[in-house]
Subunit: 530 residues, 2 copies
Amino acid sequence: MPEPLVVPTPTSVTGALPDGLLTAFAGYEDALATNDLAALDAWFAPGENTLRGDAAGLLVGHDAISGFRGARSARSGTVARGIRSLHVRVIDPRHAVIVSVNAPDAGGAGLLTQLWSLSAAGDWQVEVAQVAGPPAAINPTVWRLVGNPLMAAAASGTLAGETIAVKDLYDIIGFTVGAGNPAYLREASPATETAAAVAALLGAGASVRGIAQTDEFAYSIAGDNEHYGTPPNVRVPGGLPGGSSSGPAAAVALGQASIGLATDTAGSIRVPASYQGLWGLRSTHGAVDRAGLLPLAPSFDTVGWLTRTPGVLRAAAAASLDPSQQTSAAQADAPTRFAVSSALVFACDDDVQDVFVAGLDRLTRAGLLPAPDLVDVGDLAEALRIFRAIQMAEAWKSNGDWVTAHPGTLGAAVAGRFEIASRTDPAAEAEARIALAAARERLDAVLDGRILLLPSASSTAPSRHANPAAIDATRTATLTLTSPAGIGGYPALSVPLFESRGKPVGLCLVGPRHTDLALIDIGAKLAAGR
Amino acid sequence: MPEPLVVPTPTSVTGALPDGLLTAFAGYEDALATNDLAALDAWFAPGENTLRGDAAGLLVGHDAISGFRGARSARSGTVARGIRSLHVRVIDPRHAVIVSVNAPDAGGAGLLTQLWSLSAAGDWQVEVAQVAGPPAAINPTVWRLVGNPLMAAAASGTLAGETIAVKDLYDIIGFTVGAGNPAYLREASPATETAAAVAALLGAGASVRGIAQTDEFAYSIAGDNEHYGTPPNVRVPGGLPGGSSSGPAAAVALGQASIGLATDTAGSIRVPASYQGLWGLRSTHGAVDRAGLLPLAPSFDTVGWLTRTPGVLRAAAAASLDPSQQTSAAQADAPTRFAVSSALVFACDDDVQDVFVAGLDRLTRAGLLPAPDLVDVGDLAEALRIFRAIQMAEAWKSNGDWVTAHPGTLGAAVAGRFEIASRTDPAAEAEARIALAAARERLDAVLDGRILLLPSASSTAPSRHANPAAIDATRTATLTLTSPAGIGGYPALSVPLFESRGKPVGLCLVGPRHTDLALIDIGAKLAAGR
């Protein structure tokens, strides 16, 4: 037999307490305690105007709220808590706001503000709710370790006061590298030196806030690590954050760090930057020292950064790029001509195409950009095939021994990729290397010193609940966009310039090798003049 | 000239939008952006019924809200943010609820729910507000380092699934000890071994969640570290957390860890346990190995734990106590007689005296406790003098060299204590050691195998804004209560059993040496039967 409802005594009431209101409040708490989804659905007012907000964002409409509840597992949905105080503000006999402080059995305090209204049928229902639970010590989807700081700055400099979220692929002295996989982490030894890219930022005055999550071995662009969970996307509640630099990107988007130190082999910086509305630079291949970085595919692996502002991105890049290359002729001569490939644009979802075309048109009409030249970048499917062949061969060389020795420890999507990679044929790899060199020469010739403009990803952030096939299709389309920079070893900047129905879309600038800083300056001008 | 107000366009509206409402909303955001305290005061409705809640708790009444704003510095008060979406639910021409999602310049997203009402004078004012800002990566008042986990369990056992907040005085292999002082931390070397008390918990299946803050060198019972800030008190918003084990206690109260591994020399576990409504055990002096623990005053230093439940406390103690002592006659024979000293009760604030006397009366009338015997514990001022003399002498021996070499690096209150300690006279110390031995013998005789019952602290949690003189007076009164356990080397358990106007007051059980587990069992029965 269910226990009878305990109707709490209000701490304060203004106005005349309507009949049934407190019983309804108690009924809602009871439904929450038992995770009674049908009852919770009934306590929320039907229709498109019901609101429920919490730390993860605002849900609009009864269906969205109901869907969110359904997605929570029975266990995490159940909330055992007592009411510590209860304040009722009666507006009229049919409306009241209730503010309650609750004490979860698991510790901390929660706060709940609800607008209750009496329906035509005589039922009290929640029209608006804001829910706050106790803060967690750490968000494990974003971070593996966090400190205040984890490592202090090594000197003062242009990055003084900035905080770094270090992707869990870089060595930090005294700490282990986890590479997004718990089994790998367990066997890792503490690093005896700090990676060059981390040291460069520390030397310019930044401190390390923590070690941030990555897709396993950086071999994904989704950002949905099966072991540690999917980080939030601040700009697209319910959307994937993008990966593999999912943790650094989310940390920066959340304001929990100001620099995400990341890597980009096939889009791992550009994709989360695009999905989350951040600045992201994949540096020229080889222009930043990769010592102390766990490799995925060394022919394409690059160091790079995610930030909220172009100023911090530029300072991070300037502190990290090989000084001899910063003062080279290439770095000094900023490109002044731009190129667009319609084949690359057509690889995108319709909404991204629309936003990109309209956005470029706006920028050129505003005089911020000269009209770009249309270029033919050749057979994109063939370019992607070559890129993937080399990436797979090198990924297997980097990680195959470990993967073989640890069956069953990888998430399904990454395991599948390694499984295909394990079948790399040496002859096919040799052929692909020759094709790669040719493709690179062809791209150099086609772009001819111009900056290639394209969307940073083929879509806005997909839903976290998208099926694997849909995510894989998005992956292939996005890799079509990201692989040219990999083939050319070019720097690529994602500028948070566009939006499709509130969801960010990055404008990607792919420049000649060693134009890293010039790209940021150009991107900053576009963003400022927008 | 101030910029004109930008009145945002609502994302959705139900009902007829009243005149002036959105302008009022924009005016409030503008006042927040400029931290215009007078304007913010005016936007909130006057009187006792206005509510404002956030992660730190619920403020009731216009004065409390105004006081909170005044306490924020101009810099931290200023909030630069844009509005991302805005939903208006009009209840009637004089009432509306507005829910807005904002985008702070510093990253992340904020959520705000407000009940607006039109005053008799025709002004729109906020009657109720719930505010949520972006979550921080780490709460630096509670933690110095946090991990997922920071260190994994070493085995399975009775503490499987439990998480430890380790006070920043214990060695953890590979990590430094900071002792609550940034200068000390900077010079510290990573530990080469893990402290015995940490290893015992890891060996029983718990993992380390992180390294938690402490008052400097554990030499305080306030919990107001000047360098890292004052942790929250979940049960008393605006109240001190108690110290020196402030971080472990707050971590456990917040639900961010389930075991606070702490130390108690003169109340550093019992005081935060009492202030925050937690279970806290100071173990029998010497009964838990202190290897790898930074000493304060070794004659009194003890290992202990803070938890939310007696079950976890008992498991932590059982895993940590020297096994030879757990099976001794003393541990096996639980005391059945109890004692009360009216002098110790009179040392407390009136409200604590009332709560304690009424609480004991309730427990005895319920048959949970036999009527305690009244005992005369002697001259409390003299006992405290002896305790402090030895504590000061040993604190200076432990830390004097470091303190002397680092002038100006300690917070004022702790610096003052070390300054007095530095003047310890060897002859006076020798005299005090003789007096201490005599006092201990006397206490043993007076208590005669009974459990001494007393309040765990002389007051409920003082306000964070109390002046130093008031905090010092509370400190002296509380040390009068805590020093007998130090003098006798007794275990002391704080049970979260009482409340004074919603603020917790611990019932302290001081038992004969090596009755640690028996005390927890007795405390658990009292709590269950309450």
